[in-house]
Symmetry: C2
Subunit: 340 residues, 2 copies
DNA sequence: CGTAGGTCTGTGAACGTTCCCAGACTGCGA
DNA sequence: TCGCAGTCTGGGAACGTTCACAGACCTACG
């Protein structure tokens, strides 16, 4: 029999009240840790809860309180990348850790097309979530504007250039990119290029700007290629392109570790040795970095902390606290390994 | 201002009824696509819904119907692996596609420790999900037994050896492993080893058994190493161990693509050339396979279909249909590339 | 001793939906 | 003409919780 027996009726707050010889109200006060409950009552209720195996009915609670106790995590990436990108994964884990502590359910909403975008906007207006965390929003993002309009408590991870009124948590992409490029230059490289990506977002823009700032007058626009996605494929194509444009290239800053991994494959394909012929540095210090051959020098970003902080920002708005409108930038650090 | 303005009251079924000049009951019948609604009423209600921007209140619905409209996806893996493993990712995507079509919310429950296990068991008994899909259950799994006891509609992906009464969807690991090992042998390899993994699960066991069957009398237990996790690290350690045990090894069956990727790094480290010195084959045909250098010959498993089918099994139980107690095994195929 | 203020408890009402029943209307055959 | 089956609609009741309110009790102070 696969259909299973009829499930037993779940215990309600009434059963607990009857068992404890008290009223609904008192039980509710114990459950919600409110004031004005005597020690006797508290003990009795707790014993009764354990005895009848009571678990609070979320639907009834949500209905009465007009809240969903859910937070949406909106990710603007293709589904495939969502699963593949270790940075997003780490952010998700951090967010989830904080939210489950606070008894909130995380709902992941992946936006892959304009159709998704509309569906998610409708979902948000339906009150299915009490707040949202938005990852990697692009400029002109309709979802972000819908969130502002609906007045839903929110936080960005990363900083979309054109949206006001929502706090954001990010990293200093400019400083990180500048620092690692300088470090790469310090190894004596003369012809240094970049495989840029996601220029429609602040992360992509700022990493490029940092690279440019590090090079100063030596900056050569023909040594920069760019592609939309932070992906292995971007690195492979980008490296091929750079090699064809400048066969004498001896250093590459890849805008992410996954791109760097692709670039390494591109160099291997072309018979170049890393780091002797070409030095490569990445960005993220994700799971890719250690798995590369040779191991990748990269910029470490605290992805887990980004997720945690964003979640805390949303929760504090939900508690009605005044949240600083401005953003927070977390510091990055350089991890130097064997690829440069 | 980050706190946002007061949100407007959401339209209810009453508003729709008033707008359409009909009663609650009729509106509800239209929404739930029931019989006995006149065309006039249907049109009027649909217009009213659009006009007032009505979205159904899930909490109220769930409360009344005593269902959560959520399905749990229970994954027995460390959090890190959950994000990294492309097979699990593909299963998740397949599951989610089917469930969201049927208006069910997917809730991922990752079990990383015994504490998690207890928490999830309690969660399940709380009625937060109407059904569960269990991935990669180990033998003697307490959660699986709890599910049977609670009578929650469920389906396994993969087949835990000691649990009856729950349908499962799997692949024929034995046949796949046997076939690719035979193909590897056909390239003329003489000393073929295996890096096995997850021997506490059917997938691990069956892949090892298939390998053994393919070798027949030539099977040499000293050429098999095993580690708990399907991971890159397993492949690296395993390859080092195999090389130290049998320096003349010329073929390796890795129990997963991620293991194969690690093994490739191990061979590179030892200066062996693939496929000239050693031929390597993997299992899964995941995103890793194409990214390896050289590209990996492997067994393709329809991970997306596994997820879809498991979801459908659970949904049909929810509809009260009789589901065959037995399992379904989906066929695998061999994808031959450059690593052997 | 009366009263004020604090603590604690019980109860009715409400959240928005679905389910069920009663009843109105229609068409059709006896 | 009547009854009956089928179609359609309206409204009461209930799901399990939280909140507001009312009232009981205790202590302490004038």
């Amino acid at each position: 029999m696969a259909t299973g027996a009829a499930r037993p009726r779940r215990a309600t707050i009434h059963d607990v009240a009857a068992e404890a010889g008290l009223s609904r109200g008192t039980v509710s006060r114990v459950i919600n840790a409110e004031r004005y409950v005597s020690d006797d009552a508290r003990v009795a209720v707790e014993a009764a809860i354990a005895k009848v195996g009571y678990v609070r009915n979320t639907a009834a609670r949500n209905l009465k309180t007009q809240q969903s106790h859910a937070i949406g995590l909106i990710v603007h990436e293709p589904h495939s990348l969502f699963l593949e990108d270790p940075v997003i994964g780490a952010i998700l884990l951090g967010t989830n850790a904080i939210l489950s502590e606070a008894d909130y359910q995380l709902v992941s909403l992946v936006i892959d097309s304009d159709r998704d975008s509309d569906r998610v906007a409708e979902y948000l207006s339906g009150g299915f979530v009490d707040g949202v965390i938005i990852i990697s929003a692009r400029s002109g993002d309709p979802i972000a504007h819908a969130v502002v309009k609906l007045g839903i408590p929110a936080a960005f991870v990363g900083h979309p250039p054109d949206i006001e009124g929502i706090p954001f948590i990010g990293i200093d992409n400019f400083a990180g990119a500048k620092a690692i490029t300088e470090r790469l230059l310090a190894t004596g490289r003369r012809r240094v290029g970049m495989i840029a990506s996601a220029l429609d977002r602040d992360s992509g823009q700022d990493r490029l700007a940092g690279f440019r700032a590090a090079l100063g007058d030596a900056f050569d626009p023909s040594l920069v290629v760019d592609y939309p996605l932070y992906s292995h494929g971007t690195g492979l194509s980008g490296m091929r392109e750079l090699l064809s444009r400048a066969p004498d290239i001896d250093g590459v800053f890849a805008a992410s570790d996954s791109i760097a991994a692709g670039a390494l494959d591109g160099l291997r394909e072309a018979g170049r040795h890393v780091p002797d012929d070409v030095g490569i540095v990445g960005f993220d210090d994700s799971a890719w970095a250690l798995r590369c051959q040779p191991t990748l020098s990269t910029v470490r970003q605290p992805a887990d902390a980004l997720g945690r902080l964003a979640a805390e920002r949303v929760l504090s708005q939900l508690r009605g606290e005044q949240v600083p409108d401005s953003g927070t930038l977390l510091p990055t650090s350089i991890v130097w390994r064997d690829s440069a």
